[in-house]
Structure formats: C-alpha cells, structure tokens
Symmetry: none
Subunit: 241 residues, 2 copies
C-alpha cells in the first residue's frame, strides 16, 4: 500500500503521550505518514517519544498544520472517524468497509481523528467525504485515540496483506502422507494386539475404527508421526533406566 | 455471542494499568469475562481501575488463577496469541480467521495473552490448540497487551454482527475440556517414564514439549480422550489373551 498509504491526521490532540501511542499503532501496521493539526501542547512534544516505543520515525516526519483544511489540502479522499451520530448525511462505514473504499480509490486518502475528549468538530467532519465509525458496545463506548488509530490501521493493513501475506504464509508443516498414518495405525494395532487391548473379540472391529479415526483426525506431520512410532516402540520394548 | 463469548486470559500480566486497559478494550466490544493468571503485583490491583475507564465490571468479575492450566481447565478451545514464530506445528490464524474459527466452534473458547515484555511461554503455547498472530510490520512489531486484546475483541465482535443467521445445525462433537487433556498428558508421561522413553535426561524436556503439543493439537472429544487413556492403561498393564 506504500504508494497509496493514507495520511493519519490527528486533529487538535491534547496529550503528547497519545500522539506517541498513535505513532506506535500506525507503524505496527506499516503506516508512517502522520499530520498533526494545532496540537494543544505544541510540537515537538517531549511526552510523545516514550509512548511511541520506537516509532520515532513517525514523529520525526510528522508535519504540523494550523487547520484541518490545510492538513488535507493535497488529499483527494477525506474520511472522518467519529463515534457519535450527528444526523450524518454522509456515508458511514465500518473500518473494514472504509479500508476497502480507500483501497479502491484513486488519489491520496486522509483519515481524521479528533481530540481525545470531544472528538471531531462539525467543521472537521464537514471536510470529509465519508465517515468511519467503529461499531462498539453501545452501553460502554470508550475508544481512545490510539485505539481508533490502531483499528483503522489494522483494517488497512489487511487490505494490503491480501496480496502479500507476509507473516502468515508460513503455515504449520504439512500433514504426513496417508501412508505414514497407515503405518502408524498398523504399528499401534499390532502393539495393542500384544497387550490384549482388543479383547473381547466381538468389539474389536468397532474399537479399531475408533482408533483409526482418532489417528487420522489431527493431521500430524511426518515428524509427529515418527514421534508416535517412537512412543509405541517404547511401550513394546521398555528399557527402564 | 453472549452464550459463546470467549474468555480473555491474561497470563502473568505485569502492570495493573495494562490489565485495566485490557478490560476497557474488551468491554468496548462487549466482552466481559477476564481471567488473570499469576499477576505480578497481586490482585486486586489499584492501578487497574483508572485505566479501565469505566470498565470496572470486567475487573470486578475477573477471576485469578495460579496457573494457565487451571485458568482454562473448563475450556474446550484454547487459542494462544503470539507474535514470534517458534517452529509451530499448530495452525496459525490471523485474528479474523480466529474469530471465525471460534464462532464455528462448539464449546467454551479461551484466548491467552502473554506478559507485556516476553509474551507467552512455551508451556502456555503448548496448552493451545491454535495460534493467533496479528500480522504486523516485520521491521517494527510493537504491539502491546491492550492492543492485542482490542484487535481480537474487535474481530470477534464483527463476527457477532455478521452472524444474524443461526449457526450450523450440526456441529462436530465438542472437544474435551482442557483438564481432560492435562490428565491424558500426565498419564502418558507417567507411563513413558516407566518405559525409559525419556532417556537420555537432557533431551527429556524438549521431548515432553513435543508430546504435549501433539496431544493438544487434535481437539479430541471426551470419548476419544477416554479411549487414549484405555490405550495407555493397556500398555501399562498388558493382559495377553
């Protein structure tokens, strides 16, 4: 998403700590372009660094603007995040839908996040083409700035990942081929024949089906099947130390 | 999702503030069942309240356990959240896939979250059937406890929303509660101690981890676990006919 990575715009943030947390949340999902509108305590803010937890690059590159309009002047698609309903006539999207929308859009996108306590003002929301609302517990809604940022960043990164899948391409090792399982089962049955497990004989057939089902269910890897074979051998030929 | 809402298990959390933030993150998406394993600073912790930002009900209802095994003893599906790869043979799911998986599963689910700095230990991951990994920026991964909680809670709440239609009428049988697997594993280990399987001693620890991982992977039912116990008993006390 690098060439179409959206800008995260913090409008009138109050605490430097929260700016740092937002930077950390962004960089966790590969986003680094932050713009700050009229920060209450000025900029740079020494409280931001520690909570950024290493995402200093985001803070260093952050640009400061006097107004929201200036901050998004070069952007083609503006999204405003808000929790409250204000008789919106604009389209309201959940974060996942917003991410899809941004992915499909042509031109630079900006996402506005309001001040900690009050959220975005009507004037800021007016600038936006669309609204992003995280659907939260109606009886408790208490999403802070960094949480709103991380949820949006997370959804955006999922869009991106759909093409690449960097982390998750590594799935667990492949299950052993069926023939290995057949051999494991044969080994187990033979070992259990010797212990008298299949007595009485009239129940043996059903028991064998159960055992085979249990062994085929897990999708064990070849290594795991080998381990089981070792376990069986150890029961067959104990060598107590 | 109320009747199938998962339990959020914080394993050895360090700071009360982070427990409070996790509670807030959970309740934002309608989840309230928190369990805490061996919290570093004891429980209740006066630092948790302020950061919970009103989610006190979650903290008040939180249960404390000495070990992870005890905390999940009544759960049928255990998921471990982890960022690091450890040569997993278990399925690794992104949060969205994990949420789908939980939604489709029959029986109580638990999600394990590790301590702030170190993440879950190998022993905790062993307990889990599946792994949840949030795909984050490889060059910066710095997801804190509350952020991991909120992303998982958020994905779970999306499932709930989407899930207007009733769940599948025929679910596969429910996996045995974790405590049954613990007993099966203890039985197996004891039986193998007698056969000399864990010789030489310097490899025993690694072998035990492998075995436990193999036993937690399949999601066996109570019946299947009973069958395994019978198999073990038969090896321990053979009665050849």
């Amino acid at each position: 998403m690098s060439n179409r990575a959206p800008v995260f715009v913090l409008v009138k943030p109050q605490l430097g700590e929260n700016i740092g947390k937002a930077a950390r949340a962004m960089l966790n999902f590969g986003f680094s372009e932050m713009r700050i509108v009229d920060p209450r305590d000025g900029w740079p803010n020494p409280s931001a660094g520690p909570t950024a937890a290493g995402a200093d690059i985001v803070l260093e590159k952050a640009e400061v603007f006097a107004t929201t309009a200036e901050a998004v002047a070069d952007c083609s698609h503006i999204y405003a995040t808000t929790v409250r309903k204000r008789g919106m006539t604009k389209e309201v999207l959940a974060p996942a839908a917003a991410a899809q929308d941004m992915q499909a859009s042509n031109g630079k996108c900006a996402i506005l996040f309001g001040p900690e306590r009050s959220g975005l003002e009507v004037m800021d929301v007016e600038l936006a083409r669309k609204i992003i609302t995280v659907p939260i517990n109606q009886e408790f809604g208490s999403l802070n700035l960094a949480q709103a940022v991380i949820l949006v960043a997370y959804e955006l990164s999922k869009m991106d990942e759909r093409n690449v899948q960097p982390t998750l391409e590594k799935q667990p090792s492949q299950p052993a081929p069926q023939i290995e399982l057949d051999r494991l089962y044969a080994h187990m049955e033979a070992a259990l024949e010797k212990t008298g497990y299949f007595y009485p004989p009239d129940r043996a057939a059903a028991t064998k089906i159960t055992l085979r089902n249990m062994l085929t269910k897990p999708g064990w890897t070849e290594e795991e099947v080998k381990t089981w074979r070792g376990v069986l051998s150890s029961f067959e030929n104990p060598h107590p130390k």
